[in-house]
Symmetry: C2
Subunit: 239 residues, 2 copies
DNA sequence: CGTAAATTTGAGAGCCGTCAAAACATGTGG
DNA sequence: CCACATGTTTTGACGGCTCTCAAATTTACG
């Protein structure tokens, strides 16, 4: 018999509770959720799940930054997604009931909340609205993949890198005087895997951005003047 | 009170009934489905829905071939997906309750089945399993987008074109003697939009494929020897 | 301070984008 | 059936970018 007292939702205190896929659910589902609920801290470079692993649940990033990567047979890899707090990961293999196609590895010290597969399944079955919200996550995943396919097909690597750095700056940077400043959370190889070029090319792209005065770069230290001639960021005419 | 007689499922006679997202549903949902159900024939080059149109339902391709394209402000476009019989399209904007991000245009004379938005909504609400199957379509969409991102990042344009032609040959070709033969359903520009290169480059890629003896090309007529030295299709070592 | 790993630099070949022009295909009206 | 106009595809020339391999340099860390 269900308890008449109010059971607190395991995500209730999370900053992302409002947009959680697990919310709202019926009271009964809360106990299932609570039972399947775990939190996990990851140090930088720690792996949350491995490519080809069986899905063990649905993961929700609550702090830090994870990279979703697929490794190719020839030793190279492609960085498919950066997962920020609020992002749900592992739902692809959860929904398909299949193995992970990507590896999830922390780029920064991170924290994830986990709903174990079996219990996630049960909650979803009893609460179609959870499925609706997961489908919405799928859709935004599709959207961002489309954006990436389009930018790869229509935009120069130089502009794509500059866009990426702008996004990273927005997420990780802070204002210092009239400059933005950040510590890059990614290595040059990771950036190369994200843009889809070789590391040597990435290095040269950085050089060009530096030479053009768009960014001040020193290792992982990036600075960016807040007011800069917009034509530089927009790239050469046409591209 | 539901009719005791058997109502036939509107997709019952479809070749893709077995894998339909609309199947199985409760008997009551069948009448809603039937009510919202339309079929539409498209001549080559006819538009099913326009980019930025409001979603009017969920479409299931039953014959022919459609191209999902997004047009960019600068006049170029990217071909994001070829939709074959059995494919469901429009589910992205249906699930997100948003406008279409792509245009759907028939490349060949085609036929689609349509479940009107309002009724699709109703069926989904009453039958969570429909949502599960739509989520599965989302997941395979994500998978194929990932494959595309990966191949764009790691494979030469030459190999990507050759892979594409192989897939098209499998779908549209027929064996004539010891050759495969097909009529290309796509213009050179469409192929260029699909691979992500300029039309001039596409023309040169074809020339190289021809020169290397992989394909015999004449306009939209493509022939391919069935037994060919596999190293040609695999491309240069490394790539 | 020294070793291993990551990043940058150099050189050369090949591929792609751009612009412009030629070749080809298609459809129309005479 | 031809002449013509239109739209698509191919070709040429050229500059710029990326890949590859190799070596130099910097950074990270024990």
């Amino acid at each position: 018999m269900p308890e008449p007292w109010i059971i607190e939702h395991p995500c209730a205190k999370c900053a992302f509770f409002k947009g959680s896929v697990w919310q709202p659910v019926e009271r009964i589902a809360m106990s299932v959720l609570t039972r399947g609920f775990t939190r996990k801290s990851l140090i930088a470079d720690e792996v949350l799940f491995e490519q080809d692993d069986q899905n063990e649940g649905v993961f929700c990033v609550s702090a830090g930054l994870l990279a979703l990567r697929t490794h190719h047979p020839n030793g190279t890899s492609t960085l498919l997604k950066l997962a920020y707090p609020g992002d749900v990961i592992g739902f692809r293999s959860f929904l398909a009931n299949a193995r992970h196609k990507t590896e999830a590895r922390a780029l920064l010290p991170s924290r994830v909340c986990i709903v174990a597969h079996r219990d996630a399944d049960r909650v979803v079955r009893g609460n179609p609205s959870v499925l609706t919200r997961m489908a919405a996550r799928c859709v935004s995943e599709i959207d961002s993949n489309h954006d990436r396919i389009i930018s790869a097909a229509t935009t120069s690597n130089r502009k794509r890198l500059s866009d990426l750095l702008l996004r990273l700056m927005a997420a990780h940077g802070e204002q210092v005087g009239d400059q933005m400043h950040m510590q890059l959370p990614l290595s040059r190889s990771d950036l190369a895997d994200l843009i889809g070029v070789q590391p040597e090319t990435m290095s040269r792209l950085f050089k060009r951005l530096k030479d053009d005065g768009v960014f001040v770069v020193s290792g992982r230290d990036i600075q960016m003047p807040l007011m800069q001639p917009s034509h530089i960021l927009l790239g050469r005419p046409g591209k």
